[in-house]
């Protein structure tokens, strides 16, 4: 069995786990990140929802229930974490835009508005899309993107279709990584007779350097252009994930991808080591501290059984809202099914309650009372609690 020693091991490679890992690796701790696979972040729009249910997310935090993870972290920590995120994304060449004091609305592929807080620079021009003419450019054969949904809802839109010779979002993004393709696309755009306004494209403007692609098209056409998020494969989601993962690697962090945690060793109130199952043979990692960021039901951190919910790595106590008959609302689409509040309850240092493990911290959507769908706070909560747990862990380590 392979054997590895670290200062801290983070379990779970989503936005929360990556945020915590980047922070700790940046502080010079020997940091390892273990993940079963790619996180749900790769399937997301790449936008950072901080608190979609309130017009001003920062003011909204104070109106949340006292046990919400944002309240445990505190408003100051949330602001610091999100500002650190903005700085980090600037460093990685994938700048994010937006104000923490006001939500913004961006255009969705079905012509509705998505309320969010921080958006990648490629979606910055989407805000205020109802006030000007929007010309939607789609690509021939592109699956799961139907511009007529947009034109049927919004009178101020028109559509044209470009034949790029490929019909998947990733195929298109790969083409946009080539400068010669971008030039061809710009030449074609310039040939269209468009009324004044903005251009919208599905989110395929390159994987490597979307900022440069954006600037190139803007310079060539003299128009604002923005991306509309798509169904997975979601290019902005992949960009966000890669930017975070590469930031972690650049800070000297070690990745153990494709590894589920098979077992844990604890002794006298401390987690001593975990055993990673590994696709070929197991290996063991011991550390001075551990951070649990395995996500909720979709991420695999929580597993619902008939009448209970299990935490899958440490078998921690899971707070569940009553018996199973109380878990769900009758209307599937209404936000805030009570089961969403399930998760791990933590103390003010983000240590799970009731397990007595002093060097274990938890962050992200595995935390109880997050209610991400209801408050619309997914990535924001991951960044804020990931950062808060990492700071608490730093105090323990130093």
């Amino acid at each position: 069995m392979g054997e590895h020693g670290y200062d801290v091991v983070i379990i779970g490679g989503g936005v929360a786990g990556l945020t915590a890992s980047i922070y700790l690796a940046g502080k010079g701790f020997r940091t390892a990140l273990v993940s079963r696979g790619d996180p749900a972040c790769c399937l997301s729009t790449g936008c950072i929802d901080v608190l979609g249910a309130h017009e001003d997310p920062m003011k909204g935090i104070d109106r949340l229930p006292r046990n919400h993870p944002y309240r445990i972290a505190g408003r100051r920590t949330v602001i610091d974490a999100l500002e650190a995120f903005l700085g980090l994304m600037e460093e990685r060449g994938l700048p994010y835009r937006g104000s923490l004091g006001r939500n913004t609305g961006i255009l969705t592929p079905i012509g509705t508005t998505k309320t969010t807080c921080l958006v990648p620079i490629t979606m910055e021009a989407s805000s205020g899309f109802t006030t000007t003419h929007i010309h939607v450019v789609s690509f021939k054969g592109l699956r799961d993107f139907y511009p007529s949904y947009i034109t049927s809802r919004l009178a101020n839109t028109s559509v044209s279709v470009f034949d790029a010779g490929t019909s998947s979002t990733l195929g298109l993004a790969t083409k946009f990584d080539e400068p010669s393709f971008v030039d061809d696309f710009c030449a074609w755009l310039s040939g269209l007779e468009l009324p004044p306004g903005k251009i919208a494209v599905p989110a395929v403007l390159g994987l490597k350097d979307p900022k440069a692609v954006l600037q190139r098209i803007r310079a060539s056409t003299g128009r604002e252009i923005f991306e509309i998020p798509t169904l997975p494969p979601s290019v902005p989601g992949i960009r966000l994930f890669r930017a975070l993962k590469d930031a972690f690697l650049a800070r000297g962090g070690h990745l153990y991808w494709g590894n589920a945690v098979a077992s844990v060793e604890t002794r006298s109130g401390q987690v001593e080591a975990i055993t990673m199952a590994g696709p070929c043979r197991p290996s063991r990692a011991h550390a001075r501290a551990f951070i649990l960021a395995t996500g909720s039901f979709v991420g695999g951190g929580l597993f619902a059984q008939r009448g209970s919910v299990r935490e899958t790595v440490f078998d921690l106590d899971v707070k569940v809202p009553g018996p199973r008959r109380d878990w769900f609302l009758n209307d599937f689409f209404s936000p805030g099914h009570p089961v969403e509040a399930s998760g791990i309850e933590v103390d003010s240092s983000f240590r799970p309650l009731g397990c007595g493990l002093k060097n274990l911290f938890a962050c992200g959507s595995i935390l109880a009372h997050g209610e991400i769908m209801r408050h619309r706070c997914g990535h924001g909560l991951a960044i804020a609690t990931g950062s808060a747990a990492a700071r608490a862990c730093e105090r323990l380590l130093s």
Binding site: G2, A32, D38, P39, S168, T174, L255, G258, C280, G300
Partner: protein
């Protein structure tokens, strides 16, 4: 996990290098779990597009539910090859071991012939691509010059075909490193790991290789030896495919005692440094782009070479793990995959060049051939970097060989000071 655990989240498609550049490949989700629902044992396969898969296994590493996407596609490819006529190039590359053996035997002649346009044209008729160049062969292969070395922990070195026939110099450095950190290294006669045969649809030949290697390695493991490999693809085949798809008896025990060279050396080097109160193994003034091979990711052992790089003074490195080089062993050497391999090679090489580094380093021989070609810069094995650091550093073996001692008695032999 079987195809039934797939919840169609599309993470595998996001990681597929081939689907990015080859629209005819529907991607791992459709070629894997989706199509598996319709494949029946009694019915002939109709899904020719499974053969676009390069078996990089990135889909499988990415799957958060543990669905063995790449294995599903590999089994579909094996089924397809069994039921259909395989192209000549597949038969050629399945026999990569035998051809390399001949290449090595006739090395001085072969190395002059292979770059000739007429040879490339002839190979083109057989379905072999003209880029990148085939690697040079060495007559003094590892198996021809093998002998046990060193004292201490008992290790058997599985060198694989590339180090054996094409880069025995790296193989010798690997052996010397193991010896330097207290290992007794045995290099028994060994076959190809079997992956080229498996990847080219020849399950029987792969199994034949596997049975021979496994019985040899089992004898060593039973005597207390650990198995050490340096090629990630060989390692993956030994530890995952032998007990898995090739179903080789006793392979589980071998797998449990099989290590990547740096996974094995890391604790030994750390102990040596701690004992001497040192922090670094030596100095190498270079900035390198470290390209992580897909099959190293598939091993799930992290990136052990990075652990050694961190112990070298003066070395700055950038870890690149987003791109597949596109060669995928023998995949990119086939004419029908030429375009795909070239596009992926250019993407991965672009990432290498963007780092501004002067050197690309990768654990996999195929990655080095491809990236050396497309990035147009020297490509090295981490073993070379580490060996370089150790030989100049404080842990270097100060004991001189007999020849050196003799030479030092007669300075005139070397024409200078000893």
């Amino acid at each position: 996990m079987s195809f039934e655990h797939c919840m169609r989240c599309t993470v595998c498609v996001e990681n597929c290098p081939v689907a990015k550049v080859e629209p005819r490949f529907p991607g791992p989700k459709q070629a894997g779990p989706d199509a598996q629902r319709f494949r029946l044992d009694g019915e002939k396969s109709v899904d020719a597009w499974v053969n676009y898969c390069s078996h990089c296994m990135r889909c499988q590493v990415a799957c958060p539910y543990g669905v063995e996407v790449a294995d599903i596609i590999l089994k579909a490819r094996l089924k397809y090859s069994k039921e259909h006529f395989s192209p000549l190039s597949s038969h050629l590359f399945a026999n990569a071991y035998h051809l390399s053996k001949m290449g090595s035997l006739a090395a001085p002649v072969m190395n002059r012939i292979t770059p000739l346009p007429v040879f490339k044209q002839a190979m083109g008729l057989l379905g072999v691509s003209d880029v990148p160049d085939l690697p040079e062969f060495r007559f003094l292969s590892l198996e021809r010059t093998r002998r046990s070395k060193g004292r201490g922990r008992r290790v058997v070195f599985f060198h694989g075909c590339h180090l054996n026939f094409n880069r025995p110099d790296i193989g010798r450095k690997a052996i010397d490193l193991l010896v330097a950190f207290g290992c007794r290294v045995a290099i028994p006669r060994q076959q190809c790991c079997g992956l080229p045969a498996l990847g080219n649809g020849d399950l029987e030949m792969a199994r034949k290789f596997a049975l021979k290697n496994a019985s040899m390695l089992t004898r060593y493991v039973n005597r207390g030896f650990d198995v050490v490999y340096s090629c990630p693809s060989c390692g993956l085949t030994l530890t995952r495919e032998y007990p898995g798809i090739l179903d080789v008896p006793g392979a589980r025990k071998v797998a449990e005692n099989t290590y990547h060279i740096f996974e094995y050396l890391l604790p030994l080097v750390q102990d040596r440094l701690d004992a001497k109160g040192l922090r670094s193994i030596g100095r190498v003034e270079a900035s390198i782009a470290y390209h992580v091979p897909c099959h190293l990711r598939a091993l799930g052992i992290g990136y052990p070479s990075v652990g050694l790089f961190e112990m070298i003074d003066g070395l700055s490195f950038t870890v690149l793990d987003n791109d597949c080089c596109g060669l995928s062993g023998t995949y990119g050497f086939k004419k029908r995959n030429r375009e795909t391999a070239a596009k992926l090679g250019a993407i991965a090489a672009g990432a290498v060049r963007e780092t501004g580094c002067e050197l690309v380093v990768s654990d996999c021989g195929a990655c080095r051939i491809q990236l050396g070609h497309y990035a147009a810069m020297p490509a090295m094995d981490p073993i070379e970097i580490v060996a370089d650091a150790v030989s100049s550093g404080p842990l270097a073996n100060k004991r001189r060989t007999l020849a050196e001692r003799v030479a030092s008695l007669f300075p005139s032999i070397k024409g200078g000071t000893p």
